[in-house]
Symmetry: C2
């Protein structure tokens, strides 16, 4: 994903492109992946860029509020951010912690009950936990 693509995606989501936000986006959006705040900070440090912890957290919160990335709560001890935002599902290897995307297009769910009164659906996510056989 080129720098120009990054800039476009930030603008599309009403995120003004500061240099720190661009750096975080470059790390997270460069390819489909799931990273925690900590991993992003480490990666930024490796790349020699200096973005503070607070800014990384602020930025991730902003990105997910604006739909640029999705929060992923599989590992109970940390929050992961998913660079793939269109609806999709996950394999989660409980032994390794590895998280893999499942595209949504062919998946159909039938027989769900209706939603509780006065509520509407925000998302439907399937999580398939797997382990080595």
């Amino acid at each position: 994903m080129s720098r120009q693509d990054i800039l476009n995606r930030l603008r599309e989501h009403d995120v003004s492109p500061t240099s720190q936000r661009i750096e975080v986006a470059e790390v997270l959006l460069s390819r489909p992946q799931h990273l925690s705040a900590d991993q992003i900070i480490d990666r930024l440090n490796e790349l020699g860029s200096r973005v503070s912890k607070a800014t990384v957290y602020n930025t991730l919160k902003l990105f997910s509020k604006n739909g640029l990335v999705k929060e992923c709560n599989v590992d109970p001890s940390r929050r992961y951010y998913d660079s793939t935002t269109h609806a999709h599902h996950h394999f989660y290897n409980v032994e390794t912690g590895e998280l893999t995307d499942i595209p949504e297009d062919r998946v159909t769910i039938m027989g769900l009950p209706r939603l509780p009164n006065g509520t509407e659906r925000e998302s439907v996510e399937i999580l398939i936990k797997i382990k080595s056989s």
Copy 2:
């Protein structure tokens, strides 16, 4: 759920029934519900029973390892424990944090891809996030 039922369920899952474990089980298993460690500690205190924080955590870990309860990772800031262990799904109200069970029996999922090589399925969970409309 009677005290005898509690004892049976502990035994069925190879958990030796100490008095602290029985007390935690009485709180958590008394009816279908989702509780955090903290909520369990509060409840125990209300009931006048004195079980240490460390023991509650140890006990919940043991229970879930032995399949007596299920961990529920919806709220990224704390772990919930689900007294319903047979396969089922959840509505999660993102505004209130309320978690509601969806029985599995009528739900069918089609079109899932095959599992990654060398892995087997441990569970399939659907999480439907809802908000007030």
